[in-house]
């Protein structure tokens, strides 16, 4: 379903096997003495075809990291590169056009348009980008997420888990270089959460997408290939093949770590 049928149209991912690169990205909120440094020179590189969880306590800057990387926020300084191309620093319209081809989103609150059906919501990014609508492909993406029988339903007729699966289908239909997910299971019950996480995992393992997911739930993080820890706006650790217990353990001691070590310097 996420086949690379139209290779010529794909963003210049062919140049690198790097889906996402952040170089010394910083972002502050507020001004003067009350300014809060949400991101403090974060550098990060994620290869294509990986599933990464970003974790950290509340206020550690993980959502800011995601939003800067996804082009929803403009970093104060630093460089964001998606699939080998530097993110546009121009107007919102230019940024939107940059995102359309390269980035997909999944939000905690779904952000589906209530007036559109499931099928219409899914193809909306293609419509807005003026791309050819392949109805059969859209349908197969929706079948893949288990909503083949609900194409004509509206979001308010679906459960939370189903809505999130529509959001995933919408994020995948444009074949983006990176899919960003901000607490995608935050509003879901355990069963629906597991379905959603499996879909994200499948997008990576079967279809070669790259997924970056912010979460504070060690169970959700355990579905990822690796976990990046964040504390006080800095990288505070890295874990391959995470397990629930290991993640929870590391998270619990994150506060102790940041004073002792500087993980950012270790080239995570």
């Amino acid at each position: 379903m996420f086949g690379r049928r139209d290779k010529a149209q794909r963003p210049s991912g062919r140049h690198s096997d790097e889906a996402l690169r952040l170089v010394k990205v910083s972002k502050s909120y507020g001004e003067g003495e009350s300014a809060v440094r949400a991101l403090d020179g974060v550098s990060l590189s994620l290869p294509r075809g990986t599933f990464t969880a970003v974790m950290g306590p509340s206020g550690s800057g993980k959502t800011t990291l995601l939003q800067c990387a996804a082009g929803l926020e403009r970093p104060d300084s630093g460089i964001v590169m998606v699939a080998g191309e530097e993110m546009s620093k121009g107007s919102e319209a230019e940024l939107t056009k940059f995102r359309r081809r390269r980035i997909g989103f999944v939000f905690q609150q779904y952000n589906l348009l209530p007036t559109l059906t499931v099928a219409q919501n899914t193809i909306l990014p293609l419509k807005l980008a003026g791309r050819r609508i392949d109805k059969a492909k859209a349908r197969s993406v929706l079948e893949q997420v288990g909503l083949g029988g609900r194409l004509k339903h509206r979001p308010d007729e679906l459960s939370g888990g189903q809505r999130q699966r529509v959001a995933i289908a919408r994020a995948l239909v444009t074949e983006p270089a990176v899919v960003f997910a901000d607490e995608p299971t935050g509003a879901l019950d355990i069963r629906s959460a597991r379905d959603v996480l499996r879909l994200l995992q499948e997008a990576v393992r079967v279809h070669g997408r790259t997924v970056v997911m912010v979460t504070h739930d060690p169970v959700a993080a355990s579905y990822a290939d690796s976990v990046v820890f964040l504390a006080d706006g800095r990288l505070a650790g890295h874990m391959q093949r995470p397990t629930v217990d290991a993640v929870a353990e590391r998270l619990a001691h994150l506060g102790d770590d940041i004073n002792g070590h500087d993980y950012a310097a270790q080239g995570v």
Binding site: L72, E92, T96, N111, L113, K127, R170
Partner: protein, 442 residues
């Protein structure tokens, strides 16, 4: 529950700005015109002055009041609909439907009371200015003193409060139900009632003498009631208009147009609340301005008044009608602003789905264009019905001899106001980052 109502008004004054403003302006118009009744009843007012004042108060004040009733009611309906989420939240926290009803109706009452109270002092000045107009044109003796009395106060407060409370009651009933898929029975009933009353009112013009000074009143009432009927039926009319306009809209506005058509199909019920002031504005402006033109010509042709007097009389009448038309126009802006500014979250979601700011604006512009076309068409129709009823009795012909100039001007203003307000408000909403816009209303 009334205490909760007052607290919720106090906590979020901004949310009630649109309602308060419409209640204030409505009460101001009613009190200004109806203070002419009080003035006419004053001691030492000669018969001719008293008659002029009474006619102005009952004709313009009369249909003005009806207009205010529907204008205030439609603003309030918009306001209550926008709080569906909050009402749902209250329900899940354990408020009974009766409690929610009391809260929303109580709020509407409090806001309308405040609006009417604020209008009292300005209405005193407004009434004096109106009297000056009459005196300057020689219609009323210069010795007449302006009086602001019980009629102005009671009508001003009564109509504003009644409109607010009725509309809040009906709207909260709708918002309190889980599913609003089906066309409400109340809506159907009211639309046919308005149609019947409007037709009756128009037919009653034939019972008047050709030169009766009250003749304009039933024609204007009829036009207003038919406008209300059209607004209520617009949930059925809009889908038809969309089918016709879908092609051009999608062709002109691209992906924005695609969203427009799908949005409007789903939101026909909400949009009918926006159509109400638009149809009222077009209908009222067209009807009153043409009727006044016909009246002026007829007076001049009759040779009863000297040419110089006829001129001042025309100016006076246009000024009076202009106040009503301006009121309709302000209410239209008020409603459009309130509805568009509420959509910040929707715009944010579209942007997150990959819409550029320009596409969002194109969508809003396309939507306003469809609204304008529908509203102007329906409003012209109702206005035209009023004109024909009036002209056929006042003159020998059926149609006014004023030409298309007035209609074109009214249509132009309606289009400029509708599209300008919506797009301008949306443009302001787009300045907030999309992520914030989505979180804001969540």
């Amino acid at each position: 529950m009334f205490a909760l109502a007052l607290r919720s008004v106090r906590q979020r004054p901004g949310r009630f700005a649109a309602t308060l403003f419409s209640a204030f302006l409505g009460a101001l118009i009613i009190m200004t015109f109806n203070s002419m009744h009080d003035t006419a009843a004053g001691a030492g007012v000669d018969d001719r002055s008293a008659e002029t004042l009474t006619v102005a108060a009952s004709v313009v004040g009369g249909y003005g009041s009806l207009l205010v009733f529907f204008a205030v009611a439609s603003t309030l309906t918009v306001a209550v609909r926008q709080r569906a989420d909050e009402i749902e939240l209250l329900r899940t926290t354990g408020a009974t439907p009766a409690q929610i009803k009391r809260m929303v109706v109580g709020e509407a009452f409090a806001v309308a009371l405040l609006g009417a109270a604020l209008a009292v002092i300005p209405a005193m000045f407004g009434g004096r200015a109106l009297l000056d107009l009459f005196q300057d044109s020689g219609q009323v003796a210069g010795s007449v003193e302006h009086s602001f009395g019980p009629i102005a106060l009671s009508t001003g407060f009564d109509i504003t409060l009644l409109a607010s409370v009725c509309a809040a009651f009906l709207a909260v009933r709708r918002a309190g139900r889980r599913t609003v898929r089906k066309q409400g029975r109340a809506r159907t009933f009211f639309s046919y009632a308005a149609l019947g009353a409007g037709a009756l009112s128009l037919a009653s013009t034939s019972a008047f003498d050709g030169d009766a000074e009250m003749l304009m009143a039933p024609a204007a009432y009829g036009a207003i009631l038919l406008s209300v009927c059209c607004a209520l039926l617009s949930t059925r009319i809009l889908p038809v208009a969309l089918t016709v306009l879908e092609g051009p809209v999608t062709a002109l506005a691209g992906a924005g147009g695609y969203l427009t058509v799908r949005n409007m199909r789903q939101r026909a019920a909400q949009l009918s609340n926006v159509l109400m002031p638009l149809i009222l504005f077009t209908g009222m402006a067209v009807a009153t301005l043409y009727m006044q033109g016909v009246e002026n010509d007829a007076v001049r042709a009759s040779g009863l008044v000297k040419a110089a007097d006829a001129k001042t009389l025309e100016t006076l009448n246009y000024a009076v009608v202009g106040i009503i038309v301006a009121f309709c126009c302000i209410m239209l802006i008020n409603t459009l602003y309130a509805t568009t500014s509420y959509r910040v979250r929707e715009f944010g979601q579209q942007r997150l789905a990959g819409a550029t700011p320009r596409q969002v604006l194109a969508m809003v512009a396309a939507e306003s264009t469809v609204l304008t076309v529908t509203g102007v068409a329906l409003g012209s129709l109702t206005g035209f019905a009023g004109i024909v009823a009036f002209t056929s009795v006042r003159t020998d012909g059926l149609l006014p001899g004023q030409g298309l100039g007035i209609w074109l001007a009214v249509t132009g203003i309606a289009a400029a106001v509708t599209i300008g307000t919506s797009v301008g408000t949306a443009w302001r909403q787009l300045r907030a980052p999309a992520v914030e816009a989505v979180a804001l209303a969540a």
